[in-house]
């Protein structure tokens, strides 16, 4: 199976404010797309459009599995996103959050993977602590773990390295490397080293 993501002539404006226009890109299996730009240039907005959380003013985003165009309903189990504006549940522990996500994504067999994933992101010791009391760096690690829990074919990450220490950064880099073998990856970031990871790049002005 080979996954592909196409962004076709996408534009977005809020009332009269034009954020971006004529955005085109194609991300093949194993490739990484980076979206960069100054604050307010619309990186997160474009990522939300790619995720289907926001409608573009013009153009469209299409997901493919080989030549088969994927419907929105199929993407729930194949696409995930981690972003500062997407939270996990404060009232649940790390383990409970991941168990819940594995179940509603219809991948109950992933329950076995939860412990090894928590180990990988360095949160195994804190797996029974409430997410609400985690530090911002720990929260970021758990968000990344939640995003790759069901081995997504399409992984979208908004500022994936924010609030992470050097060890956390290495863990996320390793996760991204694993994801590149599995499917398509999209990262929105401002940091030069992150942008240089990209095989395909979009720079918003």
């Amino acid at each position: 199976m080979s996954y592909r993501l196409e962004i076709n002539n996408v534009a977005k404006h809020f009332d009269r404010l034009l954020l971006f226009k004529k955005i085109d890109a194609m991300v093949e299996q194993g490739q990484l797309l980076t979206i960069s730009g100054e604050n307010g240039s619309g990186k997160s907005t474009l990522l939300r459009i790619i995720a289907g959380l926001l409608k573009p003013s013009r153009g469209d985003v299409v997901y493919f599995n080989d030549t088969l165009r994927l419907e929105r309903s199929q993407l729930c189990s194949m696409m995930t996103m981690a972003a500062p504006a997407i939270n996990l549940y404060d009232e649940l522990t790390a383990h409970e959050n991941l168990t819940f996500l594995a179940t509603i994504k219809g991948s109950r067999e992933k329950h076995r993977k939860i412990d090894s994933l928590l180990e990988q992101v360095g949160l195994a010791r804190f797996k029974h602590e409430l997410y609400g009391i985690y530090s911002t760096g720990m929260k970021q690690r758990l968000k990344i773990a939640a995003a790759v829990l069901n081995d997504p074919s399409f992984l979208l990450l908004d500022e994936p390295f924010s609030n992470l220490d050097e060890n956390g950064r290495q863990i996320v880099l390793q996760i991204i490397a694993e994801q590149r073998r599995r499917g398509c990856t999209v990262i929105a970031s401002n940091i030069k080293e992150d942008i240089e990871l990209g095989d395909v790049r979009i720079e918003l002005s």
């Binding site: 995720a51 289907g52 959380l53 409608k55 929105r72 309903s73 729930c76 696409m79 995930t80 996103m81 972003a83 504006a85 997407i86 939270n87 996990l88 549940y89 404060d90 009232e91 649940l92 409970e96 819940f100 996500l101 179940t103 509603i104 994504k105 219809g106 109950r108």
Partner: protein, 225 residues
């Protein structure tokens, strides 16, 4: 099966979060008990003429239940929006699963409220129920019908600025036909006369089917836009 498993996972998650925060339960139960105490002190049984009692008691009972429900059930989606977990759900599962899971949670809360409030109400107002089975069916189907409607409205108002006002304004006309039916049926259950046709229970079941089917069609549009 997967649809039901996912809906029950959402229900389980909401119950767990509710038990740890008592976000909706506090609002609903405090409102219900306060209203109940005020009513029982101000309109004690002896202040109402015997022939009018069944109708007035039935009306008061459903006023307590409906307005208590309105005070807490609107929070089901507002809470997700305020905690920034709404998009997590949106990306993780189908809209129908979200609607069913939230409706199951609201139904659980409402049935729990009925289980606590109705016996106390009957006791304080000294009501002898003529047809207990009819009252139980009305409470059951009434609870499901109310939660089916309020879940849908809660999703609509989650991103509005004046959530409380909008929730009541939208919920009231939608639940009005059900409410009138439930009051009429409850009045019958408080009386000794025989119940022949079970009209109110049938109307409540029909209401649930109509609202349920409409919600499953409309909810994905509201949820995704």
């Amino acid at each position: 099966m997967s649809y039901l498993n996912e809906s029950f996972a959402l229900l389980k998650k909401d119950i767990k979060c509710e038990l740890r925060t008592r976000f909706a339960a506090n609002a609903i139960f405090l409102f219900a008990f306060t209203t109940l105490i005020v009513i029982s002190y101000s309109i004690a049984p002896y202040r109402i003429d015997e022939p009018h009692r069944p109708f007035i008691y039935a009306t008061l009972l459903w006023i307590i239940l409906v307005f208590s429900a309105f005070s807490g059930l609107s929070r089901s989606f507002v809470k997700e929006a305020e905690a920034y977990t709404e998009d997590l759900l949106r990306l993780s599962t189908q809209p129908e699963v979200v609607y069913t899971g939230k409706m199951l949670f609201n139904t659980t809360l409402l049935l729990l409220l009925e289980l606590l409030i109705v016996p106390v109400f009957l006791l304080l107002m000294n009501i002898r129920v003529g047809h207990a089975h009819y009252l139980i069916l009305l409470l059951l189907f009434g609870g499901v019908g109310l939660s089916a409607t309020t879940t849908m409205v809660a999703a609509m108002i989650a991103r509005a600025r004046v959530k409380g006002v909008l929730f009541s304004a939208l919920s009231f006309p939608l639940t009005f036909p059900l409410l009138i039916t439930l009051i009429k049926g409850t009045e019958k259950s408080f009386m000794e006369a025989d119940i022949v046709h079970w009209d109110e229970v049938r109307v409540a079941v029909a209401y649930i089917i109509v609202i349920g089917v409409l919600s499953l069609f409309l909810f994905p549009i509201i949820w995704r836009d």
